[in-house]
Amino acid sequence: MDALIILVPAALVLGLLGLGGFLWALRSGQYEDLDGAASRILFDDPPPPKEPKP
């Protein structure tokens, strides 16, 4: 049972890390555009070179 002293806090800390990550992602607006994000990952082209100003 001694293992519990380490394992339970470790499980809780890992879970809290995940929860913290979720809340951070939510706050920084990463859940705002789910449809866009789904298709955005397919576009990996570098932006076209900017034309030099005349």
């Binding site: 519990l4 809780l12 879970g15 929860l19 705002e32 555009d33 298709s39 955005r40 076209p48 034309e51």
Partner: protein, 779 residues
């Protein structure tokens, strides 16, 4: 280019927008050709390989863009930031094209488009007026940009959805971690007393904060219901969850066999997931509605003291100001005509299908469309005091009355909650006083009964059906605006139609008559010069005719060119006995000819009316148009009960009379003149292309051109209602088995979890059947 190589079979898809075109043409219109050249010039042709927007959706629209520069906000120094709503943003490739095309502009710092909210955030360094150039670039690509209105912002920045998502995250974390401890207690039969106490305290440490924080959305709703002296589903949920938390804490203190934190937190997580899905489905419809409304927003051109036109928001206009109204523009304020007589399309305010000539000095109500030349008007009332605002206030009243509608789930809850509380109370007293258990121990079966009845199935039953139905309707172009709309729509027994713009499309169709093709061509050459609906109808019947340049238009009378006259009977020196819309055409030395028209029905109006009748609904038409026009339309669709010449008040009075007689009328309308009736009706549907006020007053907005969506929506609503009732019945059956077990103290947390999970699963699976019905419609 891949699109060009594919162009060998007939007909082919337009290389830009995908609409069908006849080879050898590659494009459906000049706009698409220019857009294609623009995209290719920017080396962004990858767009065409990824595009999945509906065909024709990207065709550039010649509508002049709204002024955007004033909407730009200064960020720092000469850096500007602009929030735009983009219509036509259909797929990921569109997002990519917009972002890349804007990024190619040398002064753009960042451009980010969101597909879900159709929101484009654009930052650039340089002059503010660059906004116009960006808008015109987007316009040439086939996207229309309008400023992000407050309504759009409300729909996009959905605080409540974010709060639900946060609560769900916390509840899911809590539920999983409590389960980690609970499972150990369930299986650890040989666990020592002390270890079990440690486990209980751990569960309490995780479970209590979770219950306190993640349950907030339910507690708030329950409190507001209790304040209004009503019982709803959230009261039952709150009592169940809080009582379980309290009982588990008491069990922790006295180191009982089990705690029930797992049940309470899992319940919260499940319910929050259901609610979040419901909210997201509704949010999507809400954003689509805000988008439709934003397209109708606009600025007014005011003439200042120097006689120059300046663009100002509608709210800035005072009575007495002079405003410019361009050809084809909609008047946004009540005003009187200053000089020359004007021709106005009043279909939105009165329901008349033909424009009316209005003399100088006569008042015109907001909502009229200028069919003649650009003109100057004097505003008689500010936006806040005008006729539109008066209708808006009426609608607010109606919306409040409608807000009192009690849903079926809440009616079930108001019966259910007292019964459950009684059972729990009796169980507690029975075990405590009757069987002589200590009160803490008597609490266990009592709260066990509470949580097992706690309406997991019940609270998920109705939202689950709603989510599926609202989503299925959305994909078919029906936006569900209000949370109780489906339920009311399912219960309607009578349909009142507006005619102009609802049953008809507002376009006029030429009838065959005693004229030759050369007559038609000659008349159409004149008619091209006018935007009068009859002239448009004539041109539509004979499109390939060049415009005559010497045409003179007499507003409200007709057109004249080189002795030939096209117009109303009196203008052409003829006498007409019918009241059917007619254009006379006279030329020197030729027989006069009459072109007769009728307001064209929507293509599927007849089928839609028949389908509504098949649903057992009685139908009638109440229209502001003339008797003849209404009767003709009514005969064509097969509706006997008609009222013509109805003013907006008369329409509203008709609905009020129906409701007083105990009927449940459904109003279908599109104009400002229908808004009052829409607000009063038991349920209201805004026809395709409806005015903003009519949309605001409606429960459902039809977005596609097809009227057939209406009977489909009613069928879907009825089906949803039936499924919701089945689901409620199913979760009640579960309780019949589970409650006696709980009352007798035979329930363990493990059994409770199994019962709740299986009942939730059953109602969700049943709700999914609403989607299957969706497949049957498309046939």
């Amino acid at each position: 280019m891949t699109a060009r190589l594919a162009a060998n079979a007939a007909p082919v898809a337009c290389a830009h927008c995908g609409a069908a075109v006849q080879p050898p043409a590659l494009f459906c219109c000049g706009g698409c050709e220019a857009a294609h050249a623009l995209v290719a010039g920017l080396h962004l042709d990858a767009f065409y390989r990824r595009r999945s927007a509906p065909d024709g959706a990207l065709r550039p629209d010649p509508t002049p863009p709204v002024t955007l520069a004033t909407a730009a906000e200064a960020e720092a120094g000469d850096v500007w930031r602009l929030e735009l709503m983009l219509t036509g943003l259909h797929c990921g490739a569109c997002v990519w094209l917009v972002e890349q095309a804007l990024a190619a502009e040398p002064d753009v710092l960042s451009a980010r488009a969101a597909l879900t909210t159709r929101r484009l955030t654009l930052r650039w360094r340089g002059p503010r007026d660059r906004a116009e150039a960006f808008a015109s670039l987007l316009g040439r690509l086939g996207f229309r940009a309008v400023p992000f209105t407050p309504a759009c912002l409300r729909a996009a920045d959905d605080v409540e959805t974010r709060m639900l998502a946060r609560s769900l995250g916390i509840a899911a974390f809590g539920a999983m971690n409590v389960m980690l401890v609970s499972v150990a207690v369930w299986v650890g039969g040989d666990m020592g007393e002390q270890t079990r106490a440690l486990m209980h305290w751990l569960a309490a440490l995780i479970g209590l904060p979770t219950i306190a924080v993640a349950g907030l959305p339910f507690y708030r709703s329950a409190l507001s219901a209790l304040r209004a002296r009503r019982l709803n589903m959230d009261v039952a949920i709150s009592i169940g969850v809080l009582a379980t938390g309290a009982m588990s804490l008491s069990e922790t203190f006295r180191n009982g066999r089990f705690t029930w934190f797992d049940g309470a937190t899992t319940l919260l997580a499940l319910l929050l997931a259901g609610r979040l899905l419901d909210r997201m489905a509704r949010g999507r419809a809400g954003r689509a509605m805000a988008e439709l409304l934003a397209l109708q927003e606009g600025v007014v051109r005011r003439l200042n003291a120097a006689g120059q036109a300046e663009e100002v928001p509608v709210a800035a206009i005072r009575p007495g100001d002079l405003v410019m109204l361009g050809a084809g523009e909609r008047l946004r304020l009540d005003a009187t005509l200053l000089a020359a007589p004007g021709l106005f399309d009043l279909s939105a305010t009165t329901g008349e299908s033909l424009p009316r000539a209005i003399a100088a000095g006569v008042a015109v109500a907001a909502g009229a469309v200028n069919m003649g030349r650009a003109m100057v008007l004097r505003v008689t009332a500010a936006a806040a005091d005008g006729s539109l605002a008066a209708i808006g206030r009426l609608l607010e009243h109606a919306a409040q009355a409608r807000g009192k509608f009690v849903t079926f789930a809440d009616r079930a809850a108001s019966l259910y909650v007292p019964v459950v509380l009684l059972v729990a109370g009796a169980t507690f007293l029975g075990w405590w006083l009757g069987m002589g258990l200590p009160w803490q121990a008597a609490l266990v079966p009592a709260v066990g009964a509470l949580i097992v009845t706690c309406p997991c199935g019940l609270a998920i039953a109705v939202p689950a059906v709603q989510v599926v139905t609202v989503g299925a309707l959305f994909r078919r172009g029906v936006l569900v605006a209000s949370p109780t709309a489906l339920e009311r729509l399912a219960e309607v027994d009578h349909v009142v139609f507006d005619k102009t713009g609802t049953l008809t499309s507002g376009r006029h169709e030429l009838h065959p008559g005693a004229w030759t093709a050369s007559d038609l061509r000659a008349a159409a050459a004149l008619a091209r010069a006018s935007r009068h609906p009859l002239a448009r109808g004539l041109v539509a019947a004979c499109a390939a005719v060049p415009l005559r340049l010497d045409v003179e238009e007499h507003p409200g009378e007709g057109l004249e060119a080189g002795g030939a006259r096209l117009g109303r009977a009196a203008f052409c020196g003829m006498v007409d006995s019918t009241d059917q819309p007619t254009l006379w055409f006279t030329r020197p030395g030729r027989q006069p000819v009459a072109f007769r028209f009728s307001d064209a029905l929507r293509p599927d109006a007849v089928a839609a009316v028949a389908a509504l009748r098949a649903l057992g609904l009685s139908l009638e038409i109440v229209s502001g148009d003339t008797q003849g026009a209404v009767a003709a339309a009514a005969k064509a669709v097969g509706i006997a009960d008609i009222t013509a010449g109805a003013m907006p008040q008369a329409k509203a009075a008709r609905i009020a009379a129906l409701r007083a007689a105990g009927r449940r009328p459904l109003m279908v309308g599109d104009g400002i003149n229908d808004a009052g009736a829409l607000g009063l009706a038991y349920a209201a549907v805004a026809a395709p292309g409806a005015q903003d006020l009519a949309q605001g007053a409606a429960d459902l907005v039809l977005r596609t051109e097809a009227l057939m969506a209406l009977p489909e929506a009613i069928r879907a609503a009825r089906r949803a209602q039936a499924l919701a009732r089945q689901n409620i019945a199913m979760s009640l059956v579960y309780n019949v088995i589970a409650v006696p077990a709980a009352v007798l103290g035979m329930l363990t947390p493990l059994v409770a979890a199994a019962v709740m999970a299986s009942s939730s699963l059953a109602v969700i699976l049943n709700a999914l059947r609403a989607e299957r019905m969706g497949a049957a419609w498309t046939r």
